[in-house]
Amino acid sequence: MRELLQKPEFLLLLVPLMPLIGFLINGFFGRRMALASSGAVACGSIVLSFVIATSLFVSLISQGQTVQSYSFNWMHVGALDIHFRLLADPLSGLLMMVVTGVGSLIHIYSVGYMGHDKAYWRFFAYLNLFCFAMLMLVLGDSLVLMFLGWEGVGLCSYLLIGFWYTHKPNSDAGKKAFVVNRVGDFGFMLGMFLLFWYFGSLNYGELAAGMREVVQPDSTLLNAACLCLFVGACGKSAQIPLYVWLPDAMAGPTPVSALIHAATMVTAGIYMIARLNFIWVHAETALTVVALVGALTAFFAGTIGLVQRDIKKVLAYSTVSQLGFMFIALGLGNFPVAIFHLFTHAFFKALLFLGSGSVIHSLEHTLGHGNPDSQDLFKMGGLKHKMPLTFATMFVGACGLAGIPLFSGFFSKDAILYAAFERQDALGLVVYALGLAAAVCTAFYSFRLIGLAFFGKWRGLEAAYAHADESPRSMGLPLFLLAIAAFGAGYLWLPAAFGVHFTPFADLLAPVWQQGQAFLRAAQSPLAMPVEHSHEAIVREWVNMLVSSVVAVGVSIFAFTIYSKPAGLERARKLVEGAMGAPYRLLLNKYYVDEIYDIAIVRPIQLLSDVFFVIFDVIFIDLMLVNGSGLLVDLSSKVARRVQTGVVRHYLFAFVVGAALLLVMFLAAL
C-alpha cells in the first residue's frame, strides 16, 4: 500500500477519486450524519485531493514530466479504444490545481454559508460530485473522457442551480442550463465524430500524432470539426448564442455560482480549445469565428452588466463577458494568454462571488432566505462599515476585474488586448475595439457594484442594516486567501515591456503549444505567437498598456463617484429614466433575447408537438383507426381467411399453440 501511494500513476487517480468518495459517503449516509461530519467529509475529501494534486504538480514542475495514471479499458469497438486514463501535463495539471484549490476554499466557505440549510449534506454531495466530474473533464486523456466530465459537470450544475427545488424559477433555471448545454453537446459530439473518422482515434496523444501528418494550414474538415466543437464550447462557456442559461443559473446557492459558474466549469470550453490547440492551428477560419464570437459576447454581455440591479446578475454577465475575452485570445491563436486570463479570472471572480455571497448571507438573516431584496444593489449601501473584510476583499476583486494596474486582471486582460492590437489587420482591429469597449463596461460595472453596495447611505430595510454583520471566519478565510491570489496571480507572467523577464506561467505551459507553434512557424502563419519582442513591439505594448490603464482607472473612478454618493445615484437614475430611457430598458431586459428565443424556438416546437399529437394520435388513430376498426377487423379476417387454404403446417401450428394454451388455462381454472 505504501509503495502504491508513492506511485504517481496511482496518486493521480486519487485526485478525482477523493471527491467521488466524499460524494458517495454523503450521498448514501449524509441524511443520517451530523452536520459537522457531513461538512468534514466533503471538505476533507477535496482538501486531501488538493494536497495530492499539489504534490503531483510540484514534481511535474520540478521534473517536467507528464504523469499518466493507471488505466482501465472503457469502450473497445473496432478502431475506437477508450480508456479511463488520466493525464497530468502542464495544462491539465494547472487546471487540476485551480479546481482543487479554489474548490477547497469554496467548500470551506460553504460550511458557513450553507450552515442553516436542511439539505446541507445534499449540497455537499453535489459539490463533491461536481469536483469529481470537473477533474475528469480536465484530466481525462481523450475527448470521450472529457465529454464524460463535460456532461457530468452539466448534471451537477443542473442539480445545484435547482438546489432549492421547491421554488419553480430555480428548477426552470436548472433545466434551461441543462438543455442549452445539451445543444452545445450536440455540436461537441459531431466534432468528435468528425475527428474520429478522420484520425481513427479520440485520444489526445494519438490525435496529436495524427496531426503531424496534416500539412494544410486551413483544412475544410478540420474547420468543420473545430466549429462543431466550438458549439459545445459556446454552450458550456456561455457564449453567443448559447449564453442565456448562465445569468439564470444564479438561482443556485452563491458558492455554486463562484465555483461552477465563474471559476471552473464555465471555463471548460476554453480548456477544450487550448487542449486541442494542435488541431485548431489548422483551422484558421474557425479561429476567426471564435475571436469574433468572443469579442461580440464580451461587449454584448458587458453592456447588459451595466444596468443590472441584482448583485449576482452583474457578476454573471461579467463572467460571460470575461469568458468572451478568453475566446478572443484563443481566436487570435494566443492560447497561453487565454489560459492566463482563465487563471486570474478564477481567483478574482470566485472572490467577487463569495464576497457577494457574504453580503447576501448577512442580509438574509433579517430579510429571510430567498428574498430578492438581499441581492438588490439599489437596496444596499454603506456596508463597508458593517463588513470591513468583505469590503476590502471585494475591493481587491473589483480592481482585478476592472483591470486596475498592478492587479491580476490587468496583466491578463491587457495581454489579450495587446494580442489583438498586434494583429494589425481588420480582424485585430474589430476585436480590439470591441474588447476595449467591453473593458470600459467592465470597469464601470465593477465600481458601480462597489459604490452601490459598500458606500453611500443604506437604502433598504432599516432592520436589515442594523443586523448586518461580518460573516463567520470559515467564510472570511477563503475571502482573504482568494484576495491574495486575485492580487498576486498576475505577477506570474510579467509583460515583456516591463523589461524584467519573469514568465514562469508561460514557461510552464510552453510544451503544450510546441507542436502547433512549430507547424505555424514552418507555415509562416500570422497566427504564430511571437517569440522575440522587437523594440517597436515593446513600444506598442507600452502604448496599449497606457491606454487600457487610463481607461480602466478613469472609468472606475467615474463609476465610483456616481454610485458612491446618494446625489450621484439620484442623478444617474433620472438620466436613465428620462433621456436614456429606451437604451436603458433594452439593456435592462437583456436585449429581449430570452423572449426572442421563446417565440422563435420554444413555442414553435411545443406547438408543433401538440399539433402533431392531435393530428396523428387523436385524428389519425381515434377517428381513422378506432372508428374504422370495423374495417380493420374485416381486413384482418380476410387475411386470416386467405391463410386457411388447407395448409397442414398452419393447422398444425394453430393446434399446438391452442392446445398448450387451453391446457394451461384449463389447469388455471382448477
Binding site: V179, F193, W197, S609, F613, F616
Partner: protein, 526 residues
C-alpha cells in the same frame, strides 16, 4: 457455487437452453395446482421460478464461448416434425446471449414488483407472466424458424391478456389490448406466409441454412419476404409509423406488463431484424436501408416531440420508447460495425432504463392511482429516495456518460456517422442521418427533465401527496439491481461488447460480402 447449481440442474450443460426456456412454463404448471386464494404462495412460487431461471441462466453467460457462430456446446438439436424438416433446435450466439440474459434478469424483478401491484386474479396473472417468459426465452434461443414462430406467437396471448385483464382503465384497456393484438397479428401473419414460402422452397426451417437458401430466391420474392419480415418486426419494435399501438398498450398495461413489453418484447423486433431480415435478405436490406433509416430518424424526432405533448407520465415514457428504439434500428441499418454493436448494446440498455422508468411509474401509481402530471409536483420532498431512483433512470434514458445509455447512443451515432467503411471517410447519407438523429439527444433531455420537474420539483400542491411514503424494501429490492446494471454497463460496456463482437463482425461481413457479390453480378450482367 454457480457451477454446482448448474450441475445440479443440468449435469452435462447440453440441455441448458431448454432448461431455462421451460422452467417458467413448469412454474406456470405449478401455479395451476395452487389454490387461487393463497396469493402469497402464488406470488412466491412465481418469483421462485423466475429466480431459479435467472440463476440457471448465469452459466450460459459465464461459460459462453465467444465466437462468430452459435456456441456449439449449448446447441441442442432434435428432430421434431421430420416430414417438413422442422427441428427442435436451440442455441445462442453473441447476438442473442444478452437478450436471453436480459429476459431472465428482468423476469424476477417483474414478479417481485407485480407481487405488490397485482390485486385481482393473481393466479392467472402470474401464469400469464411465466408463459410469456418461456415464449421470450424460446424466441431468442430458437434456431428453427418454425420453432421461433411457435414461441413468437406464444407470447402474444399472455401479453394480450395482461393488457386487457389487468390494465388500468376498464374501457381503454380493452381497446388497447385489441389494438395490440390486431396490429401484432397482422404483422406476424404476413411473416408466417413468408416463413412458409421460404421454408417451402428451401425445404428446411433451419436458421443456419436459410441465409444460403434465401440468396437463391428471385429478387422479387426476396423483396416481398423481406417486406413481410420487416413489417412484422417494425410493428413489434415499433418503428415509425407502426408505433401507434404502443402508447395505448403501455399506458393501459399493468406495471409488470409495461416492463415486460418495454424490457423484453420490443427487443424481439430489433432482434428479428438482425437475426432474420438482414442476414436472410442482405441485398434487399442494404437496398432498403435509406428508407428504414429515414423512418428511424423520423421516429426519433417525432417520438420525442410526442413526449412534449403528453400530460400523462406513463404515456410520455411510452413515446420515449419510440424515440429510443429508433436509435437502435438506425444503428442496425447503418451497416457499420460500431453502430451495430451500439445498437445491440442499446437494445439491452433500453430494457433496463425504460424498465426502471416503468417500475418507478408503477410505484407512483400504486400510491396515487393516477399518472397525470397535474396531480404531482414536489414529490422529491416526501419521497427523496424515490426521487433519486427516478433521477438515475432519467439520466440513463437521456444517455448521460457513466450510465449505459451513453455508450449505446454514442456508438450508434458515431458508427452511423462513419457510414459503411470504404477507405477514406466522406460525408454520406449515413452522416446526415446521424446528424439528424443526434438532435434526439437534445430533445431527450428536454422531455425527460420536463417530466422530472413536473413530478418532483416545486411545492406540493395536491394534498394527497403530502403523506406519501418513500420506497419500501421490496421496491428497493427490485429496483436496485437495475440501477447496478445501469452503471455496470455504463462503466464496463466491454463485458457485453467483447462477447458480441465476433458474431456481429461475422454477420456484418456476410451481409456486405453478399451485397458486393450482388453488385458484381449486376455489373457483369450489364
Amino acid at each position: 457455487m454457480l457451477d454446482f447449481l448448474a450441475a445440479a440442474i443440468d449435469p452435462d450443460i447440453k440441455h441448458h437452453l431448454s432448461v431455462i426456456t421451460f422452467l417458467p412454463l413448469v412454474g406456470a404448471l405449478f401455479l395451476a395446482f395452487i389454490n387461487r386464494k393463497r396469493e402469497r404462495e402464488l406470488k412466491a412460487t412465481a418469483f421462485f421460478f423466475s429466480l431459479i431461471t435467472f440463476i440457471a441462466s448465469l452459466p450460459v453467460l459465464f461459460d459462453f464461448n465467444v465466437g462468430a457462430g452459435y456456441d456449439k456446446r449449448l446447441m441442442e438439436t432434435a428432430e421434431w416434425i421430420p416430414a417438413f424438416g422442422i427441428q427442435y433446435k436451440m442455441g445462442v450466439d453473441g447476438i442473442s446471449l444478452f437478450l436471453v440474459m436480459l429476459t431472465t434478469f428482468l423476469a424476477p424483478i417483474i414478479m417481485l414488483s407485480s407481487s405488490t401491484t397485482v390485486h385481482s386474479k393473481v393466479k392467472e396473472y402470474f401464469i400469464a407472466m411465466l408463459v410469456l417468459e418461456t415464449g421470450l426465452i424460446g424466441s431468442f434461443c430458437a434456431l428453427d424458424l418454425f420453432l421461433f414462430y411457435v414461441f413468437f406467437e406464444l407470447m402474444l396471448i399472455p401479453m394480450y391478456l395482461l393488457i386487457g385483464v389487468w390494465g388500468s382503465d376498464e374501457s381503454a384497456r380493452r381497446a388497447a389490448a385489441i389494438k395490440f393484438f390486431v396490429y401484432t397479428l397482422v404483422g406476424s401473419l404476413l411473416m408466417f406466409l413468408a416463413v412458409l414460402y421460404i421454408a417451402g422452397v428451401a425445404k428446411t426451417f433451419d436458421m443456419e441454412r436459410l441465409p444460403e437458401a434465401c440468396a437463391q430466391l428471385p429478387m422479387t420474392a426476396q423483396y416481398l419476404c423481406f417486406g413481410a419480415f420487416m413489417l412484422s418486426f417494425a410493428i413489434k419494435t415499433p418503428l415509425f409509423p407502426f408505433h401507434t399501438w404502443l402508447p395505448h398498450a403501455h399506458t393501459e398495461a399493468p406495471t409488470g406488463g409495461s416492463v415486460a413489453l418495454a424490457g423484453m418484447m420490443l427487443k424481439l423486433g430489433t432482434y428479428g431484424m438482425i437475426r432474420f431480415a438482414i442476414p436472410f435478405f442482405p441485398v434487399v436490406a442494404y437496398d432498403m436501408a435509406p428508407l428504414i433509416m429515414t423512418l428511424s430518424v423520423i421516429g426519433i424526432i417525432y417520438g420525442s416531440m410526442m413526449c412534449l405533448a403528453q400530460d400523462d407520465l406513463k404515456r410520455l415514457i411510452a413515446y420515449s420508447s419510440v424515440a429510443h428504439m429508433g436509435f437502435i434500428v438506425l444503428g442496425l441499418f447503418s451497416f457499420n460495425f460500431m453502430a451495430t454493436q451500439g445498437a445491440l448494446l442499446q437494445n439491452i440498455n433500453h430494457g433496463l432504463s425504460t424498465g426502471l422508468l416503468f417500475l418507478c411509474v408503477g410505484m407512483l401509481y400504486e400510491r396515487r392511482h393516477t399518472r397525470i402530471f397535474a396531480e404531482f409536483g414536489g414529490i422529491a420532498k416526501v419521497m427523496p429516495k424515490f426521487a433519486v431512483l427516478f433521477m438515475i433512470a432519467t439520466l440513463a434514458s437521456i444517455g448521460l456518460p457513466g450510465t449505459n445509455g451513453f455508450v449505446g447512443e454514442f456508438l450508434i451515432l458515431m458508427g452511423t456517422f462513419g457510414g459503411v467503411p470504404d477507405g477514406q471517410w466522406t460525408w454520406t447519407l449515413n452522416s446526415t442521418m446521424a446528424l439528424l438523429a443526434a438532435t434526439g439527444v437534445v430533445l431527450g433531455a428536454v422531455y425527460m427533465l420536463w417530466a422530472y420537474q413536473r413530478v418532483f420539483f416545486g411545492e406540493i400542491t395536491v394534498k394527497e401527496n403530502l403523506g406519501l411514503r418513500d420506497v419500501n424494501r421490496t421496491e428497493l429490492a427490485f429496483s436496485v439491481p437495475v440501477v447496478v446494471m445501469i452503471f455496470f454497463i455504463g462503466l464496463n460496456p466491454n463485458f457485453l461488447l467483447a462477447r458480441s463482437e465476433p458474431a456481429v463482425q461475422a454477420t456484418l461481413q456476410r451481409t456486405l460480402a453478399a451485397v458486393a457479390e450482388h453488385r458484381a453480378a449486376q455489373a457483369a450482367a450489364k
